[in-house]
Subunit: 370 residues, 2 copies
């Protein structure tokens, strides 16, 4: 079964700041295990998808980081996007290349920065999804919602298509963009909606077919770029890439395409989209603290600690403490979603000339002598 | 006016942990200004007491730190105590030495780790105290209490002796050791009690007189040590020093001596005895935060930040955040007094083998790749 994978490693999220930074986005960090998230993503495909059949799409600044973290993946399988152009362009380019090499290719599109706690079930689902994709369906993996999240898109299940390798497969009735809270609550009550995980399985041919139909400009641009890369894998395609329309797979393809299926996926999934999510998926001690590092406290509870130094606390409840060489973040766990805005505030602060803090010079005030 | 000073720099307090450490106790740190506390203590004596007339008592491990921080004070004026032996021994030894060099010597005994925000008034008080001491009184500086502190000793004022250089001088009715809260509240209501600041002024002769009367063993031991040091300033007196009785000036001398005066001292005094005290004496911004370093927050209030890195917070209220190269402390300001117990907990923790935190190895969990 020649399943290929395209790992989407182009994200630049800021809600895991200060660990996640412009130079080391989340997918390149070891957040909840010893391996980085992109390493976990590639690793959990084994033995279903070999490194040779794994493609990576990332920003061109991260190509060497990918090579370092995924040494088994051939260098020619890593495409460094000259600029962010939405997920449809990356998926389309990978599909065109695979079509050249293997007209029967089935490809799974997988975000590089998600956690999946049941990798065996995940691989079984990929195998099932591959069968469904071979029958001409665009397959999505849908996550059972556990609360009315407003930050994800939703997939409404339609008719049951049947069982494949023990998994139910449904026709997709419709895709719903990020809902407001009442709508999300209704989706949860109805029980007919899954979270859109951004994981897809399809034949390269079916994707190219839908792309040519619904995104003709993007398709035309990608054809040119693929032809240039086919002639010379080192060709400079930056200018052509930057002229591509910027559309996502969800909006540009899935919401318009035909024959879309969803496989409900009970795989212990988390997008690890905030420090609160890191807390939720981490091992917690008896006081409900999740500690990456060393923590001493007589009474702190429900707190996430991520630090290379010893952290000593008293009286903290449900807090987030994340420490890096140059930045320290402290906030309530309930404010984890606001870290993004805090980063904007920090960037604003950095552009202003620093006032003398506390009436003294920084070095002197913070300095120890001797 | 030949006033001498003895700066007591032997403290090893742990309530300002993690800044204050065994190797760099509080008096050697720059906590609230650009200078370290012992530097401030020596500096604020200028021009009243020259560096040549300034003696320092410290632990023998800190002699080189004193030499580094106070380069103007002659090396021979620094006594490194082979072991902690209470304040009476250090004061008595200094008095014996001064008597040899200047039989009329008046000496001020001054803790190295207090903040005095009105140094001009302080120097005027020292001059006034010197006059009173010349008349044969043991003089203490009393601080007007502003709240019922239970961590200080108190001095009860007796009869007004008169005015000296514009300052009232009272006979001391009695010394009271650290009171319980109801007693401290009564002292505050009565208005007749001052905090015992640990600052004293007396002639070397009067101190030696009281010492010989009330602490004959200590006196005898100190005579031997002084004789050895007079013969050879580099003499090894460690063994004799360690046999000295361990008594404080307050308990060993002041509570027993005669002719004790107190000068109420409105000098902007703080013993900077905890992080809450550092917050109180520091400059605060509009949100009531005291920041030594760089702090960005949309809404944090009443919080002390001491850090060399950028500290970004949301939603903190009345907290303490103190950051060093190897330790991070976070607790409510109201728990500042408990830092001492937290340090004990950390020491206990350090003696135990570290369990794998959060189920992972420390480096991997906290590590960033690339």
């Amino acid at each position: 079964m020649s399943l290929y994978a395209l790992i989407m490693a182009g994200g630049v999220g800021s809600r895991l700041w200060p660990r996640s930074r412009a130079r080391t986005p989340k997918q390149f960090l070891a957040l909840v295990s010893e391996r980085t998230m992109v390493q976990e993503t590639q690793q959990r495909l084994q033995p279903l998808v070999t490194p040779q059949r794994t493609l990576i799409a990332t920003g061109q600044d991260f190509v060497s980081l990918v090579a370092e973290q995924l040494p088994d993946v051939p260098r020619g399988n890593v495409f460094g996007e000259p600029a962010g152009r939405g997920t449809a362009a990356a998926a389309g380019l990978a599909a065109l290349r695979l079509l050249r090499e293997d007209p029967e290719a089935v490809m799974a599109v997988l975000p590089a920065d998600h956690l999946i706690q049941r990798p065996e079930v995940f691989r079984d689902l990929l195998a099932a999804g591959t069968e469904v994709a071979r029958r001409g369906w665009l397959v999505t993996l849908g996550i059972e919602p556990t609360y009315p999240e407003t930050g994800y898109g939703y997939i409404e299940r339609g008719d049951l298509l049947g069982q494949v390798r023990g998994f139910d497969a449904y026709r997709v009735a419709r895709f719903a963009e990020k809902p407001d809270l009442p709508t999300a609550e209704r989706f949860l009550e109805l029980g007919t909606h899954s979270w859109n995980s951004g994981m897809f399985i399809w034949t390269a041919g079916r994707l190219v077919e839908e792309l040519s139909r619904h995104q003709p400009d993007l398709y035309a641009g990608l054809l040119e770029i693929d032809a240039a890369l086919a002639a010379d894998p080192a060709a400079d395609v930056a200018e052509r890439w930057c002229r591509l329309p910027d559309v996502t797979i969800d909006y540009g393809i899935m919401e318009r395409a035909e024959r879309i299926a969803v496989l409900p996926a009970a795989i212990g999934w988390s997008d690890v989209g905030s420090w609160a999510a890191v807390y939720d998926v981490a091992a917690q001690d008896r006081a409900g603290n999740a500690v990456f590092g060393r923590h001493v406290s007589p009474d702190t509870t429900g707190t996430l600690i991520v630090s290379r130094r010893l952290v000593a606390t008293m009286g903290l409840e449900d807090m987030i403490v994340v420490d890096t060489d140059d930045v320290l973040l402290i906030c309530p766990r309930s404010r984890a979603q606001d870290v993004k805005q805090l980063v904007a505030l920090v960037q604003e602060h950095d552009r202003e000339p620093a006032p003398p803090p506390g009436g003294q010079t920084e070095d002197a005030a913070a300095g120890e002598s001797g």
